[in-house]
């Protein structure tokens, strides 16, 4: 399956990062310590950034690191510390019906894997790996301020409302 023209180095890189991400994700949803979970989430998000680089989307990867690994994680840690006096491990982070979640997520995984494997079989991502070039930022900006300007406007409204909403919700009156 992995021929010489299939970019061995990239494939090895992908596999290592993928395993790391899956382990990290599993730890996020299983550990009994909120701060540890947040740190495992950093692993997953950084892994995702690395995968984006493999997909030649360097601008998205940089944004991922800046926004997610930087800002969002800080928010999470703050949130944890503001709501929990205790930082250490806890025993009951899962709710009572957590067992229903296992068959549901396995069912979804089954359906999705089937569809993906059935639909794309062993199709290559690109026919000629040499053609894979970095996506220029210029092209992304043309896209944002061209055909997808309207979602961009909507997004700015969402952000504005989120800022106002967060202030209104969190202030003590």
């Amino acid at each position: 399956m992995l021929g010489a023209d299939l970019l061995v180095a990239q494939n090895i890189g992908f596999s290592i990062i993928a395993v790391m991400m899956i382990v990290g994700a599993l730890r996020v949803v299983t550990v009994n310590n909120v701060v540890h979970a947040a740190l495992w989430l950093v692993v997953v998000l950084s892994g995702a950034a690395a995968q984006y680089l493999l997909l030649s989307a360097e601008f998205v990867a940089i944004t991922q690191v800046l926004v997610y690994v930087g800002a969002v994680m800080v928010l999470f840690l703050f949130g944890t510390m503001l709501t929990r006096a205790r930082i250490g491990a806890e025993n009951d982070l899962n709710n009572k019906n957590w067992k229903i979640a296992i068959p549901v997520s396995l069912l979804m995984l089954g359906v999705m894997s089937w569809v993906v494997i059935d639909g794309f079989a062993d199709e290559r991502l690109i026919e000629n790996p040499g053609e894979m070039t970095q996506v220029p930022v210029l092209q992304i900006s043309d896209d944002i301020f061209g055909p997808y300007l309207l979602p961009f406007w909507a997004l700015s409204f969402v952000l504005l409302i989120a800022v106002i909403g967060a202030i209104v919700l969190a202030r003590k009156d």
Binding site: N95, N97, V104, M108, V111, V115, L150, L169
Partner: protein, 792 residues
């Protein structure tokens, strides 16, 4: 094949009014802004903006209609000789005046805004602008002194802007925009006197019921867009939202049948909601809680015909999707036929004069749908036209009765009777409109309704012709009953000059809660002597619109008087699109001086119209070939006899029952089991409301409203107060209704079944977010699995 140089070119004239028809909705839209911002400071509290804008729109609409008539005349005179030679089966195709600008675009898809002016659009433009103008004038008097006078005119004007904008929409996006503006204004206006619980409930009910149908509009538009877009882009250079593009696509033979069928069904669901068709008609009678001018404008003559208009506008889609030409039963005629009969039966048991008219409107809308579903396009559109005049007149007359005759009551049995002598003008206009509605020769209703029934039979829908005829009998009978109870017989209650016990409360304008059934609007200060004088004729601002509408109820039918020969069929000539094949070049051209290419006689031209064979390469169709019944007096005589029977038998019954109190008739419903059962079913409106409230609202809205309440209490705490209040009101309303029904012992099968299944499902609704989430994702996964299995 067909060569372009062999074609005779017809230069269709155009003109300023036709080119600038897009101004028609813009004027009321601007007036709406003016009323909102400056209305309260104006000497007439903003109503002057509304009235002036409606008259300006009316002038523009009439001007455009005049130029359209010249355009059609010009085209047909040139092509006349060719038609004479038998080259075509019908008149030449006169292209609509389409102008479209990009409104917004996203992801490469452009959404346009503009105008699509043809006979159908102009008919509706003139009707809407005309009725709106009269109703606004009428409201000047009717709502004088109301505390939200300015807001009333603002909403009324915005409604007109929305409806006019929808009518001349060149694409589905603008149509949906206008459609939703109308829905919003309907909600605002029904709940105009929201201090009374019943009114705000009616407004919510109308809004939610119509929303159920509106989902169909979005789904249908989506289906059609994704199926048609590539074809329309390639052949006509327009997007899949474009109405003429969709029409051409539907007729092209390239369209997938299942896309057409499901698109048409989804769109028709929206029409069922908006046009009050069975089984979503229940909101319309409740909408009578709004002020009478609103009922007259929105809920009888204009807004509720939006659904009929949509079917007429995208007729090729419905024609092909529902196989109208090939079958003798389809979804549209079925719904229309059921609606005619059940609504007419319901009209017999109403005490409220406006509810009689509301059910009558539902029934007449059923006629229009029946006509469209059976291929009687022009007759159905003509019925929109005539019905608007006499039904608006009936509503305004009912308002006049309550305003000056029955002391703001609408109860025919308690507060009316014998008003014909006291209010001669109102009574005369009412009776003329009643006869027009019943379809008495030569008033307006005869020409349109009889035409529908005739064509339904002609196109092979024989069973539905009988439904139409029995509907005509019922219409004549219930309208006679309402007329008798209101204007003849003995005077009762307020009509006899009696004062209500709580008359003292009337002096205080702000008292709304004291008299639930009254159309009270604090107008009493203006005519304080009102009680002392008893019933009297209404002032001029009310009677003049009534007289104008009654005059039109007499003569409007002559616009398409089939009995008098084809020269009288002007409506058909100017409104019905021709089913000629059109060359694509001319189809996409627009702007002044455009030319319409008419296929030459020798080659290219087909004797058959569209929809019989698919158009050739480079040609498109915009309208299917519909056949027209030949008018015969023998057939008309049958329906006239039926109408006369209805009028006379009902009249005799009313005299026996209401005046002489005949022992054999009075109390018959109590004595006879079958009749009592029938009466009970009718009185409970076929238990449809109970079904919706117990099954659907309890299962769906109740958890949602509880969730909103929880958010309100715990999370958003006062920030989204409004949402919480609405939700709480819904929850309370559901609770009270169900409770009341249980207490009253009005247990019925559907309710019991719903409660039973509700009990089974109740543990599932634990209130735990995680469990809800698990159910949601499991259901999504199973749904996806089913789709995958089906597709492999």
């Amino acid at each position: 094949m067909f060569a372009a140089e062999a074609a005779a070119e017809v230069h269709a004239s155009t003109g300023w009014f036709l080119e600038h028809a897009w101004l028609i909705p813009i004027i009321p839209a601007v007036a709406f802004a003016l009323i909102i911002f400056f209305g309260k400071r104006m000497p007439m509290k903003g109503s002057e903006f509304g009235v002036a804008s409606m008259f300006a729109s009316l002038v523009l609409a009439v001007g455009a209609a005049w130029q359209w008539i010249q355009r059609v005349d010009g085209a047909s005179s040139v092509a006349h000789s060719a038609v004479e030679e038998g080259a075509y089966h019908s008149a030449p195709f006169v292209g609509p005046i389409i102008r479209e600008w990009t409104w917004w675009q996203s992801g490469g898809v452009e959404f346009g805004i503009g105008q699509h002016i043809d006979g159908l659009a102009l008919t509706l433009l003139v009707v809407v602008a005309f009725i709106s103008s009269l109703v606004q004038v009428y409201s000047l008097e009717y709502l004088r002194g109301d505390r939200r006078y300015t807001h009333f005119f603002a909403a009324l004007t915005l409604f007109s802007a929305g409806m006019l904008g929808m009518v001349l929409a060149p694409n589905m996006v603008q149509l949906i925009l206008g459609w939703e503006i109308m829905g919003l204004c309907s909600f605002l206006l029904i709940g105009h006197w929201w201090e009374e619980e019943a009114n705000s409930r009616a407004a919510l009910k109308a809004f939610f019921t119509v929303r159920v149908g509106d989902v169909g509009l979005l789904v249908g538009t989506g289906i059609l867009f994704f199926s048609a877009n590539s074809w329309t882009q390639e052949n006509l250079g327009v997007s899949g939202f474009n109405i003429s593009g969709l029409s051409a696509w539907a007729m092209s033979g390239a369209a997938s049948q299942s896309a057409l069928t499901w698109g048409a069904v989804a769109l028709f669901v929206a029409c069922i909601g908006k046009s009050g068709q069975f089984p979503l008609h229940t909101w319309l009678p409740d909408a009578m809680a709004g002020p009478t001018p609103v009922s007259s404008l929105l809920h009888s003559s204009t807004m509720v015909v939006a659904g009929v208009f949509l079917v007429g506008r995208l007729y090729p889609v419905f024609w092909e999707g529902m196989k109208i030409g090939d079958t003798n039963i389809n979804f549209i005629v079925l719904i229309g036929g059921i609606t005619i009969v059940i609504a007419a039966l319901l009209a017999f048991v109403q005490h409220d004069i406006k509810k009689v008219l509301a059910y009558s409107t539902v029934s007449q809308l059923g006629y229009m749908m029946l006509g469209l579903g059976a291929g009687a396009w022009i007759a159905a559109i003509f019925h929109i036209f005539t019905h608007a005049f006499f039904k608006a007149c009936l509503f305004l007359a009912a308002g006049s009765v309550s305003h000056s005759g029955s002391h703001h009551s609408f109860d025919m049995k308690k507060d009316m009777g014998g008003l014909a002598k006291k209010m001669p003008i109102t009574a005369t206009t009412w009776i003329i409109s009643t006869l027009a509605l019943a379809g008495v020769f030569p008033l307006a209703g005869f020409f349109s309704k009889d035409e529908i029934i005739d064509n339904v039979g002609h196109n092979g829908y024989n069973a539905f012709m009988i439904v139409g005829l029995s509907g005509a009998f019922l219409t004549a009978a219930y309208m006679t009953r309402a007329t008798y109870l209101t204007f003849f017989g003995e005077s009762r209650g307020a009509a006899a000059g009696e004062h209500h016990d709580n008359h003292g409360a009337h002096a205080v304008h702000d008292d709304h809660g004291a008299h639930a059934v009254h159309d009270d609007h604090g107008a009493h200060a203006v005519h304080d002597d009102h009680g002392a004088k008893g019933p009297h004729e209404s002032p001029k601002l009310i009677t003049v619109p009534l007289m104008i509408l009654a005059a039109l109820a007499v003569v409007a039918g002559l616009a398409n008087a089939t009995p008098f020969g084809s020269n009288w069929e002007r409506f058909k000539k100017y409104v019905e699109p021709s089913s000629e094949y059109v060359m694509v070049e001319s189809a996409s051209a627009s702007g002044p001086g455009e030319s319409i290419v008419v296929p030459a006689a020798e080659e290219g031209a087909k004797k058959e119209g569209c929809a019989t064979v698919a158009p050739d390469e480079g040609m498109v169709c915009y309208f299917p070939t519909v056949s027209h019944a030949k008018f015969k007096w023998s057939k008309a005589a049958l329906s006239l006899v039926i109408v006369a029977l209805g009028l006379v038998s009902s009249w005799l019954f009313c005299i026996q029952y209401y005046t002489r109190r005949d022992r054999r008739l009075v109390g018959l419903t109590e004595r006879n089991t079958v009749l009592r059962g029938g009466y009970k079913v009718l009185w409970n409106k076929y238990y449809l409301d109970a079904l919706y409230e117990t099954v659907i609202v309890r299962a769906v809205a109740y958890p949602i409203s509880r969730a909103a309440y929880w958010l309100n209490q715990n999370v958003l705490d006062g920030i989204v107060n409004t949402v919480g209040k609405v939700a709480r009101r819904v929850a309370g309303w559901v609770y009270r209704n169900i409770d009341q029904r249980v207490v009253d012992g009005a247990v019925n099968g559907s309710g019991a079944a719903a409660r039973g299944s509700g009990g089974v499902l109740r543990p599932v609704q634990s209130g735990k977010v995680n469990q809800y989430g698990a159910l949601l994702f499991a259901a999504a996964a199973i749904g996806a699995l089913i789709l995958v299995i089906i597709n492999t």
